[in-house]
Amino acid sequence: MRVSELAAKESPVTSPSDAAPQYVITAENLTKRYGDVTAVDGISFRVPAGEAFGLLGPNGAGKSTTMKMIGGVSQRTSGSLSIMGLDPEQHGPEVRAHLGVVPQQDNLDEELKVRDNLLVYGRYFGLPMSYLKPKADELLEFAQLTDKAKSKVDALSGGMKRRLTIARSLINEPRILLLDEPTTGLDPQARHILWDRLFRLKEQGVTLILTTHYMDEAEQLCDRLIVVDKGKIMAEGSPASLIREYSTREVLELRFGSERNASVGAELEGIGERLETLPDRVLIYAHDGEAALEQVTARGLRPVTSLVRRSSLEDVFLRLTGRSLVD
């Protein structure tokens, strides 16, 4: 906790157990325009200390732009933003001293070795070597990269690079960790290791701000999330409450063959709470999927395949942001 001591000189930290909710991030009417394009369109949210907060949305929804504004590397067009009580535009270096950033694409220093990446990055925060050396070793251990300490960065696999990027983001013991699609492009093993590491950080009280395309990831990691589309907040809440609010408990997936799917819609009217016809299948949103399936067969319909599953965040996401491709 030596960094905390260093930081304490300039920032008296109130302990997380204090009664009043402490918001480490407060955004009000945050707006960002690039010329005619409005990337972020007046979003407001607050993140209490220690929360894992998710930003979900399709490509171009404004997630990364929001992250950049939080880090003070993008100037907002209007609205207000406060990170631990400071405006990141006015106090960029100070705000970032308490931030860890895992960008969408790894930007490790390829000219330096693995351990040196951590040391040099720590120097950028002005941290002393006496702190950095043991900290770097501890983080290599955390990222399961101890035996790669002296390797070159380009010799690492994708998962290792990602873990090193996360280890690097922790060198200053940040109170807020910004993760922009942390597991995109990783294999399932690597993803699960990362989730485990992120979960441990959350247990230590680090506030996590996460963007992701993976709904299972959001369900796993996020206490609360906002769904963003075209720069606006479409919904806000915990994964469970969003599923309750925007979907049903279960989903019945029926396939009648691509010719029949569209025409069978009328015959399914009235079953479940909501019906969605896709080119390849029909989705029936119902509290009880099995009961819905019985009703379907009772009407004399014989789907080629049927599947009853729990409703997921993905259903919420697709309902809120639509199914058409966004580029």
């Binding site: 009580g85 106090h91 270096p93 490790l108």
Partner: protein, 282 residues
Amino acid sequence: MSVLTGNFNAGDHSVTEAARNRRFGPIYSRNVRAVVARGLMATKSSNWMVMVSGFFEPVLYLISMGVGLGAIVGSVQGPGGQEISYPAYIAPALLAVSAMNGAVYDSTWNVFFKMNFAKLYQGMLYTSLGPLDVAMGEIFLALLRGAMYATGFTAVMGVMGLITTPWAILMIPASVLIAFGFASFGMGITSFMKTFQQMDWINFVMLPMFLFSATFYPLSVYPQSIQWLIQAMPLWHGVELLRQISVGVFTPATAVHIGYYLVMIALGVLLTTSRLRKLFLK
């Protein structure tokens, strides 16, 4: 200080510190040395060969042109009107060229790569570093390299018997001044470049400047209008400055040459910082 109760206050500063930070607060964190340390570490592990080769370039020119051409040319008129050998005439000019080349290489190609491919600056600017720290650090590295080349080249001049006055030692700091001018400007200009083709324009400017800035023969061979054009270019001022120092002849023009570089440095740093701010804090 935050007025919202219940928020963390990351920056409860004293009033004096706040005042000091006001002007450069968002772009500068007084941590240039971290950028320099990174550069040295990277040099140690990867690109020291490039550095060594940069040292030999002017030495090879000096040997081929100075010794080879010098045998035909004989002696020429130096800055104070005295007769000096042809190698002694072109050596300070080559030193100015090498200061320029080293600084420009570091601040253009190197920076271009780090900016657009290695994404190094994006990473740096997500830390406590501000754009001014990064710019000053990179420029300092270019100067360090320039100083090393200058020292080495001056030593070669000494060995070849081309140094006749103790003033010549001042060629080293003067080379750093020249390198500073080119590095600060080069980095600013590079920030406008988007493709490798555009980067070639830099060579397109550098090569004629190298050949025609009174490097190998006096300016007087040109018609008046061309002379003015060359005198407007930075390299000519560097060549003249070092040539004067090499023989220890100082005139009011010396001050003009130095002043030219001081202005160039100021404008270059201003340009670079504002560009970095635009590029990375947009």
